[in-house]
Amino acid sequence: MNFLKLFSHDLRCGLRRKRYLLMLPIFALACASFLRVVKGTPGITWMDWVFHLFAGMEPPVIGSGEAIVLPLGFLAVMGGALLVNLDFLIADLTASGQQVLIRCGSRRGWFLSKCLWNLVSCGVYFAGVLLVAAVFCLATGGEAALTNTPAAQYWEFPFTQVRPLSAGQCLLIGIVLPYLTLAALSAAQMTLCLFCKPVLAFLSCSGALLVSLYFDAGWIPGSGAILIRTSLFGGAVEPGTAIAVDLALLLGSVVAGTIQFRKQNIFSAEE
């Protein structure tokens, strides 16, 4: 079996789907909600736009009686990635992918190729998010800088200890952590699809996102993408912990999926 051929087949089949383009208006809507901040704050940078998308929300004070306002833009962008990747494995497994599977001759190789595809797919999705943020930034006269503007974050999160971060810190919490979290949740969703219906897998992983918004703890999968909760902003989520959780979830999903797929019954879509 030529793994590269197998992987390139997955890339060809998986990335040509139009749903990546369908997500662009969602990214644009999520960005548009930042325009009110941009108007009142000078010196907004590209990273501020990215921070807006992946900021999440401040931890709710449980028992305070205060209504919890969920960050819809954040949920749409994060949940969108799960939706985009949701059915590729199962759709391929129950259709043309069976011909590929018997030719590659290895269940493990086939599943690992799908895992690798998942990383690339999340990367493409994430690049789309960053691109839309860049378009909004440039269109509103912002700077293409990798540093943040504390005033912009303070406007949105007044109870957070906002401060200027270095480019490296911004890249860590604005790009590396959200991407890793997306990839880990998506890998978990793909593996769950082997055990239950795809819609249940999606609900489980998007549920994890909701739980991570509600509880302020770094060990909950999904917390890594909520950058306003990181210790760099005085929050409870240590980037190192979030990276470890994401990597553990990613690798755990790959291992569990590989084991399960070895004994998976493979049917066609009609069966």
Binding site: L6, R12, R16, Q98, I102, R103, N265, I266
Partner: protein, 209 residues
Amino acid sequence: MEILIENASKTIRGAEVLKDVNLRLTGGTIYGLRGPNGSGKTMLLRLMAGLIRPTTGRVLLDGKELGKELDFPPSLGMLLENPAFLPEYTGLRNLILLAQIQNRVGASEVRQALLDVGLDPEDRRTYRKYSLGMKQRLGIAAAILEKPEMLLLDEPTNALDAAGSALIEDRIRRERDRGALVVVASHDGAFLERLAEEIYTVTEGRVAK
């Protein structure tokens, strides 16, 4: 090549879809599986293809156990249920993409496989625009593409007219003649009588000669 199925049963969601199947099939022969819809023909083909694992019993391919020593038969062509291909590509492009996975055959063999089932390699139409009969022919072309040692065909004459069926029958015999082990499942008894050297009847998951 030889496939040996020993005491194989398969239970799916509490329903026993294959019951204590024992079969020994060898290369150079066309075997027929007949039975009504839902009798277990397709499930038996899936078992031989390695797509499902037996709940009890085992499947041996030239002495190697499927699911333990082998994930799939190393040289397998199959058409199970409805053929499925990438809808945006032509038939030729679809087969080339499949052939590239193993790199056993080149572009000329791919074209020949299409000609063998009565399809035009130069046809610029995408798979999406194919008629049902053309899709079926492409499915058979994919199955025979790499001259497999084991060929599993489920209702291969579905959606084909009389001329198309005759062409496919001839093609299947040629596969047998070069030594392939061919298993054809069909509910069309007359078709199997014409084609197969040994016919098994599948009834409620049980297989009998």
